[in-house]
Symmetry: C2
Subunit: 318 residues, 2 copies
């Protein structure tokens, strides 16, 4: 469920575009107005504002917005005003450029979207970059990390609920044997299973793993030094598939660690999920951290960036 | 372009269904009527006939049709009356069950369809088999054959015309080095390139290969003993991507070899392409074999099977 608050009566896209132009003009930007307008409009409304702005003022809306804002606030707002599908394509592309560090973004997009949603992201990727997400992932990653990420982004996974119990049992055995073997050279079968089976089937397999071996596969995959990123990417994909909410709570908690705030991760989770399932991530966070997500973020952020995230988390714009 | 001939005025689906019921009833089936009706209706019309039949006579149309016909004629008609997308899903599934022999079917479906067409086939596969084409391919093939087929069926290839010449040149070099090395252990990069790059990009790469090395990659891939099927599957995919018409002409020619007719391949090409591009395959065949496809097929087949193929190739039903 979405967390953003859209007022019951909203101005026309042209009126919103006009308010934004006024906020951009003059000495310094009126960031409060930018937030008051854009954080309280849904994706369709934001698209219409962007179109009205470009038609009426004959300039690229996103470029102007970016030039008026700065820092984490600018990056968050830039991603926010993109169409949600286009935004994921942009984020995936950015991640392919530094794939040995930014693979979690790719794993999240591949594992959390439904199959038709993932195809829509890949279609947007074609339009934006004149190539496929698959070829960029394949050309920029290597070894097991490549095999895993490529399987995750490529497969049109079955989204149904049917489960084959005998298969789950036999594949849980394969996963256990692979995980127990410390070498990463023979991970082909494991990557095949995690990369192609349906979420329901995989959760049954992970269930068998836990029942048979007394500990979850996520725990068994706990990895030390990880020079290639593969082990961590594998663990991330298993966690996204098992319980995406729990995974995102962990990302948020890590992003607001004592050692400093990871604004990129914070922005990513809030912006990508605000209009989708941020409500349930918030609930899971509260349960797990015994403090609300809003309180945690308010403590770790400041200025316009903070105001914007608060608005996306459900603070009314009025 | 389609080769089937649909009369300018056709009966209603209920009338066609009635004619088919009459053809099924009594002593022996009236195959001529079955062909006269079904070979001269397009996919939408056939679907409506199937629905009208099932609604009016309360029995499964395809099962009845199969029970009334036999041999190659039955198999061809069975595939013909399926929805074209569903038909490819059925053919792909059958091929996964004997994947070390039937991989050409999978390669054709993966390499000849556009990316949205391939997704439609994979969606139909989900509906029919409650699992993904990817997981069946991955679970039933092994080694390089698995890696190649999985990349082909998984990737949502970029369908645009843009070509990066520098990339084509560098990847042609990789292909050449891999092909010249007789070992098949290090084909990862080759599979990555063939499995993920766009058709336009690959054709530029194959062009560079030919220009630099004086012979086409298809010739360079000419393979002797091929126990796993990988070499042949690789060559098939390169040929489907380079020139699908030329490839299908070759399949048809091989299917009508002196040593005997391969009806499965013959049926597959005719039924799968009749409503799509059989016209251009026919033209290419005529050019290459100096005899028309109709003449060749007429010489190699007989009975209802022959009449049916002739009808699909453009013989009028009147």
């Amino acid at each position: 469920m979405t967390t953003i608050v859209v007022p019951p009566v909203i101005p026309t896209p042209a009126e919103d575009a006009d308010a934004l132009l006024k906020a951009f003009q003059g000495w310094g930007t009126d960031e409060r107005t930018v937030i008051a307008v854009l954080a309280h409009r849904d994706a369709t409304q934001r698209k219409k504002i962007r179109m009205a702005y470009e038609e009426n003022y004959n300039e690229n809306f996103i470029q102007r917005l970016q030039s008026e804002l700065s820092g984490h606030f600018e990056r968050a707002m830039y991603h926010w005003v993109l169409d949600p599908v286009e935004r994921q394509a942009v984020m995936a592309n950015t991640a392919t450029r530094c794939i040995h560090e930014d693979y979690p973004v790719i794993v999240e997009i591949a594992c959390v979207n439904s199959s038709p949603e993932l195809v829509a992201v890949k279609r947007a990727y074609h339009v934006l970059y004149k190539c496929s997400l698959e070829e960029d992932v394949a050309a920029r990653a290597t070894g097991n990390l490549r095999s895993l990420l490529l399987a995750l982004v490529s497969t049109y996974r079955y989204d149904g609920d049917e489960v084959n119990d005998a298969l789950a049992k036999s594949e849980a055995k394969i996963l256990h044997e692979t995980v127990m073997n410390s070498s990463e050279t023979d991970h082909g079968e494991l990557i095949r299973i995690v990369g192609t089976r349906s979420r329901a089937q995989l959760n049954a397999t992970f269930g068998w793993f836990r029942d048979e071996h007394g500990s979850s596969i996520t725990k068994a995959l706990h990895c030390g030094a990880d020079p290639t990123g593969y082990s961590h990417a594998l663990r991330t994909s298993v966690r996204c598939i098992s319980d995406a909410n729990k995974y995102f709570v962990k990302v948020l908690k890590n992003a607001m660690h004592k050692s400093g705030t990871d604004e990129d991760s914070l922005t990513r989770v809030i912006v990508m999920h605000a209009e989708k399932d941020l409500k349930s991530i918030k609930d899971a966070f509260q349960k797990r951290a015994s403090v609300s997500l809003e309180q945690s973020i308010a403590k770790d952020t400041s200025g316009d960036y903070k105001s914007f995230l608060m608005a996306l988390l459900g603070k009314s714009g009025i």
